[in-house]
């Protein structure tokens, strides 16, 4: 059951790695949705590019039996996040909907959170963001443009969640399962990315995460992420569930 009341949801994502084809549509959708500055060649070379979601490509097996594997990585919205206790100003904290949120106004840019994050999904704005003149009017009005000197990261498209819950509240109905989609999950052509409410036992994501292929990234840190991965199925190797958990 879902209601539009704040704090009754636990938003999360289930990533079916088996379905990911590495097309990078999610990355582009995220860049456009969240007003992320264009990653120019210079920024990439200086290791200062910003991509809230990225598709990591890695190889399994040795040549000539090597297989390309893809895994999309975004902020894991950990229940026990290493980035949260170290922020001196509560610019990043855990809200009551299971999300790790970043408050841009509060951030002073100590970059302490980024040091602590083992998933490397936090990004620092070294310069004031700039867009070509032609793209000025393409910015998403729902998302803050981040000034220089602050951290940013995947927000689970919190503005979309807020919009849906506002609409549901004013209509006096509950948020339907699947009504809230993040930019990446709506752009995914193979439904590898699935967004929903883990508190609702009947939601699509709750059922998906019961799959025996499920695992979380970097289990050893005990971060308890809200992003659940479903392992790759390799028909040739007949590997069991959790094989991909050893990645990395």
């Amino acid at each position: 059951m879902t209601t539009a009341e704040f704090g009754t949801h636990k938003w999360g994502m289930v990533v079916d790695v088996d379905k990911c084809i590495g097309c990078n549509a999610c990355v582009i959708a995220c860049q456009a949705e969240n007003n992320i500055p264009i990653n120019t060649q210079d920024r990439v070379e200086r290791a200062r590019s910003i991509s809230w979601i990225r598709v990591e490509r890695y190889w399994e097996g040795d040549f000539p039996d090597a297989k390309a594997r893809f895994i999309p990585i975004m902020c894991q919205h950990c229940e026990n996040a290493p980035c949260e206790p170290v922020c001196p100003v509560y610019a990043t904290y855990h809200n009551s909907e299971g999300m790790n949120v970043q408050v841009y106004n509060r951030c002073v840019g100590t970059r302490y959170c980024a040091n602590g994050c083992p998933y490397i999904v936090r990004f620092f704005n070294y310069w004031e963001p700039v867009w070509p003149e032609s793209l000025r009017n393409h910015l998403n009005p729902d998302v803050t443009v981040r000034s220089r000197g602050i951290m940013e990261k995947c927000s689970f498209c919190v503005h979309r969640i807020r919009r849906e819950s506002r609409n549901a509240r004013s209509a006096g109905v509950e948020i339907a399962d699947g009504a809230v989609q993040t930019a990446c999950s709506s752009a995914c052509p193979t439904s590898a990315l699935n967004f929903g409410n883990f508190n609702d036992p009947d939601s699509k994501v709750s059922k998906m995460k019961e799959d025996k292929r499920h695992y979380t990234l970097l289990d050893q840190f005990g971060t308890d992420p809200n992003v659940i991965y479903l392992a790759k199925i390799d028909a040739d190797k007949k590997v069991g569930a959790g094989e991909a958990a050893t990645h990395g």
């Binding site: 200086r46 290791a47 200062r48 990591e56 922020c87 001196p88 002073v108 970059r111 220089r148």
Partner: protein, 459 residues
């Protein structure tokens, strides 16, 4: 042991007040050059704040670099003051007397410098007041006291307040002395600053009790300040090389190592610049070097433990990090320089009394220690971040930029500049301590030689 001249009070006054009552020839040119460097540094800092942190060499995944290293370095140097003036005062080590003020001064100025770094390294330094001061408690947003970055300013400002008071209380008798020897605006300044010091028994008693109380009150700070600085790193559970349980005592003992070495450097400079051969004597260097041997060896044990912890746990990522620190270019070169300068060269040299009483050798070895201790912090902070972890996709991306190096050099010029400015108005060797030590010292005759014996330490 060398034979010592008996120093009468007139001679002590004349020699130790020569900075205030006359100006040494080298003073103005040195201060001017340092002033220019300080000014350049200030302009560079202002430019960096204006343009943004893009002007530094920082890049993912190395989010902390030269600034935090230098911050830890200066906080380490500041431990000199509390070691020399509080601990040695409470343990009644007589040889501390001529260096107490210089050590306290080093504490105050290095803390002032250290505080600059966490402020300017932040992305939005202009919001730092919001950061440290819980001014908006009415809005329900209190600073996150779980974060060591909140404990840092609390500990450091406590330390700074305590040290400044300590310095001032110890300065009172000398200020009274200067008031009586100056005229004009200087006299007016010293009159106000000396708070009506007349040197009567009641004032002496209060001054002594105040000093002892402050020493005792500052003892907890001796442990807390650098422990908290070490937690900046130790709480980052996902960073190998940082999340170590031994960091607090390791950092504290490392701080004493670098701080006391900095005092040795400073004593040698004071002896040369103001020609205070009668006051800062080879015995003092000897005593400090013996203290340093113990401290440095304790510190070495911690270093060894830190490097070998990974072997106990067989923790693959941490072993990989240690391999990178010790065997991979360019970290291996830094590691060798670090080990040679922080321990392997100076400490065996100090084992020889001829070295301990040789001022030039003590000067250069103490400089070596501080090069090594700076590198130690750098080797903890940067490789810990630059390491290759499962999800990092760029690494070893950090190369300090010219802006960072300029600000690094600025910090040294700034501390020296403040010291020399202070020396123009206040005596660097406490006159009253010097005279008191003469009272506590009696001479014994061994054969024909008159040998100073310190009676306070005998009982």
């Amino acid at each position: 042991m060398q034979q010592r001249r008996e120093l009468d009070q007139v001679y002590t006054n004349r020699k130790l007040l020569n900075g205030q009552l006359d100006t040494p020839k080298w003073w103005l040119p040195t201060v001017s050059i340092l002033g220019v460097v300080v000014l350049i540094g200030v302009v560079v800092i202002a430019t960096m704040i204006n343009k943004g942190l893009g002007v530094t060499g920082l890049a993912r995944p190395v989010y902390w670099g030269l600034f935090i290293t230098t911050f830890v370095f200066w906080v380490g140097i500041s431990h000199a003051g509390i070691m020399i003036s509080a601990i040695l005062r409470l343990t009644q080590a007589e040889w501390r007397r001529p260096v107490t003020r210089a050590a306290e001064l080093l504490t105050v100025f290095s803390l002032l410098t250290a505080l600059v770094f966490p402020l300017i390294h932040a992305g939005r330094p202009w919001r730092i007041a919001y950061w440290i001061m819980p001014y908006d408690i009415s809005r329900g947003i209190y600073p996150n006291i779980r974060s060591p970055l909140i404990m840092d300013p609390v500990a450091i400002s406590t330390y700074l307040t305590g040290s400044t008071l300590f310095l001032y209380i110890a300065l009172l008798p000398d200020l009274g002395n200067l008031r009586d020897r100056t005229t004009g605006w200087k006299n007016a300044m010293y009159t106000v600053l000396s708070l009506g010091w007349r040197g009567n028994p009641r004032q002496w008693k209060m001054q002594t009790v105040g000093g002892i109380l402050l020493s005792a009150l500052m003892l907890p700070i001796f442990v807390s300040v650098h422990s908290i600085v070490s937690w900046d790193f130790a709480v980052a559970a996902a960073v190998e090389g940082w999340h170590s349980t031994i960091f607090a005592p390791y950092f504290v003992i490392g701080a004493v190592h670098s701080g006391v070495s900095a005092v040795v450097t400073m004593m040698a400079l004071m002896r040369w610049l103001w020609k205070w051969d009668d006051f800062i004597r080879p015995e003092h260097f000897d005593a400090l070097a013996r203290l340093l041997i113990v401290v440095a060896t304790g510190w070495l044990a911690f270093t060894f433990l830190e490097l070998t912890f990974a072997l106990y746990g067989q923790d693959a990522p941490e072993i990989a990090l240690r391999e990178m620190q010790m065997f991979q270019w360019p970290w291996n070169a830094l590691f060798i320089i670090f080990f040679l300068t922080a321990y392997a060269i100076p400490v065996p040299m100090w084992l020889f009394k001829r070295v301990r009483t040789n001022i030039a050798l003590m000067f250069w070895t103490s400089i070596l220690v501080n090069i090594g201790m700076w590198l130690e912090r750098f080797l903890i902070i940067v490789p810990g971040l630059a390491r290759r972890t499962p999800f990092v996709y760029t690494w070893e991306a950090y190369r300090p930029s010219a802006v960072e190096w300029t600000i690094f050099i600025w910090s040294f010029a700034w501390v020296t500049f403040l010291m020399l400015l202070f020396s123009k108005f206040f005596p660097l060797v406490p006159l009253f301590e010097q005279k008191e030590s003469q009272v506590f010292t009696e001479d014994v005759m061994i054969g024909r030689a008159k040998i100073p014996a310190i009676i306070r330490e005998a009982d």
